[in-house]
């Protein structure tokens, strides 16, 4: 098991696609994107039930063991979240390398 940072980001669905491109550029080792997630927060209820996904958020999950890359990712995520709302959590995790 290897120690790493686990980054979870909930963001507006269209911005998640932008973020996915950004992550590749920043050299993130990989990511998982869960579309159509819902919940509630500053911007009220997000039900993810409309045709065009107007109230859908996406969840992006990243495991990264390089602190520089983690910092780069967080630096890129902050301006996105400050425009659109959302949440970004960073925690210590153990990575089962296989």
């Amino acid at each position: 098991m290897k120690t790493c940072k686990r980054i979870e980001i909930v963001v507006e669905a269209p911005l998640a696609l932008k973020l996915a491109d950004l992550l590749r550029e920043l050299g993130a080792p990989g990511f998982t994107l869960i579309p159509d997630v819902r919940g509630a927060g500053d911007r009220g209820q997000r039900r993810a039930d409309e045709l065009s996904g107007d109230s859908s958020n996406s969840l992006i999950l990243i495991a990264c063991d390089d602190q520089e890359t983690v910092d780069a990712i967080l630096g890129a995520v902050r301006p996105l979240l400050s425009r659109s709302g959302g949440i970004c959590l960073v925690s210590d995790a153990l990575w089962l390398r296989h």
């Binding site: 911005l15 932008k18 409309e50 659109s84 709302g85």
Partner: protein, 331 residues
Amino acid sequence: MSVFLSNLSSPPLLFFFLGVVAVAVRSDLEIPAQVAKALSLYLLFAIGFKGGVALAESNIDLGVMLALLAAIALSALIPVYTFFLLRKRLSIADAAATAATYGSVSAVTFVTAAGYLDMQGVDWSGYLVAAMALMESPAIIVGILLYKRYTRKDAASDTGFSWKQLLNESLFNGSVLLIMGSMLIGWISGPAGMDQVAPLVKGLFLGLLCLFLLDMGIVAARRFKDFSQSVAGQVSGRPFRLMLIVGLGLPLFNAMIGLLVAAALGLGEGNALLFMVLVASGSYIAVPAAMRLALPEANPGTYLTMSLAITFPFNLLIGIPAYHAMIRWLL
């Protein structure tokens, strides 16, 4: 009065109510999101195809061109006065997104109005479908321009917003492309093409509209519930009375402008109604998709709630028959 009753007793409207009832009694009834999406694609395809065939059967004359130009001009003009009406009362981003929402059109309201006319046996012309598709992009672009012009400069120097992406989104948004494409295909294939696909495009249209409106009833009622719960104080920070007044007042005001323009253009009964519905409705498909990309500062809880939970049901239940009664009375 009879137009209201016949509207309220039509199957699509009754299914819309069923959706509302399902939410009110906390039923687990729902149309899966992917099925609802497929239904909406079907409706856009069918209305586009019908419009294209109707275009092929008619002449594109000066009157048609003028009506299309008027539609484009209104979709650029409505956001301007909406924005100035709201900029002191909402954030600049919310005002701009709301302006774009109301400049643009609700395809579902249009399709329902076309179904209403079919049930009433009133003719309408295919070029109105083209007007609907043309009214999406100008509103989005004007909304963004207003935001760029009136927001603080430092806030506008943002992260990776590009006009190319926005134009692409507003011109080739899936629903716009499908309507335009289906219309073009209907226009090319003409009445002979219609004979081949009529069972799907005509025969199933009202039935599938019922199912679709059932879903819209559920979604709109949920939105309204969220909205009224926040009125009760569970979520603060949104100007509720303003949203209610704008959500009801703006479509009425815009409909009156639509009526005047329709009268000036000399549109017939069915076309005038569709024209009014286009001008009076607010988008909740194309505009929110573009706004979330280009203007994420704007809160969908404001502009989407107004168009989906207030304006859409209003137009569906009262607007369409009321506009129809006005046209019969005046034109």
